[in-house]
Structure formats: C-alpha cells, structure tokens
Amino acid sequence: MDLRLLLQLAVIGFTFFMLINASALLVLAERKVMGFMQQRYGPYLVGPHGALQPLADILKLLFKEELRPKGADKWLFTLAPILSVTAAFAAFATVPWGAETTFFGLLDEPIKLGVADVNVGLLVIFAITSMGVYGIVLAGWSSNSKYSLFGGLRASAQMISYELSYATSLAAVVMLAGSLSVREIVDSQAGLWFGFIPRWLIFLQPVGFLVYAIAGVAETNRAPFDFPEAEQELVAGYNTEYSSVRFALFPQAEYINMATMSAVASDLYLGGWHFPGVPVWLGWAVFLAKVGAFLFFYIWMRWTLPRYRYDQLMGFGWKFLLPLSVVNLIATAGVWLYFNA
C-alpha cells in the first residue's frame, strides 16, 4: 500500500485511540481532582495512585445485567446511546491537533496531524455537535419513565438554546481569522505582537472566549448547567433506566464532548499548537497541555459551583448570553472595519 495512505490511516487511528483513552483518563482525573479538592484522596487502591480505576469501572459495567424496561421502545432505547457516542467521536473529525509533519523525513510531503482538514471545518464541528442532542432526547423519551422524560426534554431545550450563543461567538472568530477552516484559524494565530505577546485570539476576543466557554459547558451538560442529569433532583435524568454498556456510553459521550469543546477552544482562542519559543514540531505537546488545562478548568468548575436551577439556566442563556454574544459580534465587526477599511 502507499506509504502516505498508510501513515494517514495511522494518524486517524491514533486520534481515535487517544480519544478513547481521553475518556478513560478523564474518569480518573475527575475523581482524583474532586477528591483532592475535597481534601481526601480519590481512588488509590487499584493500581499505582488509582491509575487502573477506569479499567475496573469499565469491567464492572461490562459485567452488569443489560436491562430494558418493558414499556421502553425497543429500537430507540438502544439507538440513543449509540447516537450520542457517534456524534461525540465524529465531531472531533475536523479538529486539528498538530502542525504538519513528515515523520522524520519518511515522507516527501508533510501530512497534517488531524483526521481531516475541510475548508468548512468549523461548521462540521458545529453540525455534528447539534446532532448530539438527539441521543439525549431519544434516551429520555424511549425510557418510558417520567424522570427520564423530564431530563431528556430539559437537556435538549438547554442544548439548543446555548447553541445560538456558541455559534455567534464562533462567527466573531471566523470574522477575525478570515476562514472557516480550523487549521487556518490556528495558523492565523502564529507569531507575536510587540515581540512578546502571542497572537492568540483570546486577547482580541476576551468576551467571545467567555461566551464560548460558558456555552461549551452548557452544551456538554456539565458543571453548573447539569440540571438535566442532576443527581440530587432527577434520580439520574435521562439515563435513569440505563444499565451496563448502554449506560457506559453516555458518560463516555459526555467526556468526549468535553474533550472536543476543550480542543476547539484551544484551537480557536488559545492558539492551538503555537506557543512562543516552542518549535512547531512539538506543537502537539503544547496542544495537549492546553486541552488538559481546559479540562482541569471544567472539572474544577463542576466541583466548586452550585447548580443552576432550570429556569435560571434558560433565562441566563436567552436573556444574557445571547445578547452578549451578538453585541460581541457587532463590536468585533465595527472594530475590524475601523482598522481595515
């Protein structure tokens, strides 16, 4: 087979493999970080410092009994977690995680590190993320139970409301970078201003970054916006009736969505794999560090902030965040025209 094709397939397989590892590591990281914040050790029995805990969790879930309530819709009950997880993995398809590489001179022309580089890549991420709503809605409805239905309806209403602010903050980024391709947006953030400030978009768009971060947290049903799966109020929300493998797919989809949001935030606002002083071929390590920092921020928020009530959540999304992101877009457009007219 052609070497280039082989290496490209290897990069794609590696990305998929790293995503699965990411969800496992996040399970562990969340519990350890939560533990340390609450002044206790997290899991520490299984493996050194609890490193094999995710493996133990997965094995336990695999051996549980596969239940399906009698009134549950036969096809949709199984389809819902599959949809969630598929959308979560597919959304990472156009996220680049490194610069081009020739694999130490093995290839004549470099290949790009990332699954695909499409010239409308940002829209692909957004489109597939909005497909993730279906998994939750169908899970809530097909379980044929009132807690699930409430959780599913609330989660989907929340997700489509915060998608608007998400998209508007993305529009401001596209305006500044001049392209819809995520790789080009990252490359427009290379270099320095005044010799020491990196050209990251977070310095040009602080409000936009805040809006994006908040909307991203609300999109993944995490941290202060996780009312739909509120463990204290709704039993377990839309995944009440799920067990074993079907259940395991839901948190996995959630963690992969978190990883995708963090990766997109690092790419769009934090300069991706560019860092002053670090050579471009080490960019993937820089990217990993930024995504890790963002994920730590996610976990930190979850175990520090109290939960929004559902009507507060919806009011905040529609009445504050959406107008703020629209004002951000208009202000960005005005300033850009002033300097570039």
Binding site: D73, V120, L123, M131, S156, E163
Partner: protein, 178 residues
Amino acid sequence: MPETLVFYLFSGLAIVASALVIGQRNPMYSVLLLVLSFAAIAGLFLQLDAPFLALALMIVYAGAIMVLFLFVVMLLNAPQEDALTWDRAHPLRHPVVTRFGTLLAVVLSVELAYALMRGNDLAQPVGSRAGGELVSSVRELGRVLFTDYMFAFEATSILILVAMVGAVILARREREPS
C-alpha cells in the same frame, strides 16, 4: 466510477428514508427517518460542490427544526393512527378506483423519468459546463448574498422575527380571566 456509486448510495438512502417517513405509523420514527433523509440529501449537496449548504441543512433542518418536531411529538404524546384509518389509507388496500389512480401515478413518474433521460441538454454530467471552484466558495456565497440578495436577506430576518412571535403567542395556554 466511485462518484456514481456514492450518488446511488446517497440518493437511494434519501428515497428509502422518505418512503419510510410516509409509511410509518409511529410519528417518532417518522421524524428520525426524516433526519436520516436529510443527512442523505446533505451528502448529495456535498457531491454537488455545495459544502456550506450541506452543513447549513444539517445545522438548521436536522439540528433544530427536527428537534422542534420531536418536542411537539413528545409533548403531545402523539397518538399513532388507529388501525382502521391506517388500513383505509394504505395505498395497496384501496378500492379498485384509487388503485387505478396509484397505477396512473406510477406511469406518470416513469414517463417523467424517461423524458428527463432523453433530453440531450440535461444528459450532460453535472460538472461538465463549469468548474466547481466558484460554486463551492463560501466567500462568493456571502458576497452574492449580501449584495445582490440584500433585500431578501433583510425580509427573511423580519419573517423569522414574525414567526417567532407568532409561534410563542399561538402555543400559549389561554388564560382564564381572573
């Protein structure tokens, strides 16, 4: 050759999914099958060098409008059509007169297909007359949208505002005068 294969795959999926949409009793299944049909049509758009439109279709139609349909189906707990009306409505169980009508419809579509295949102008491959660079450029799309079609753009935004206000008012519960 792979192009034709991809075309057959996407168009076959779209037609089968749409046929199942109108053939399902459960409205929840109909909505989900329609989402599948939209995904197939988005694939056809991609093949026609319209990536922005394909993604806009997925975002707007499959991501928002169909979720709205799902909400309404769940909110109303939409009942399945009962068996009697379903049997009466099924095309193959109609009395002879309407079976004849169905036959006529099939003959019409076959004739239409034949006429379309024979026209010399239309038989050219899609990409033969012009290259795809202009058509697939989002920049060009935006430029034409905001210059030539400016009025339609503004009118559509007012239309959406009116529809939003109208939907909120129509779906409101009537308040009893207190």
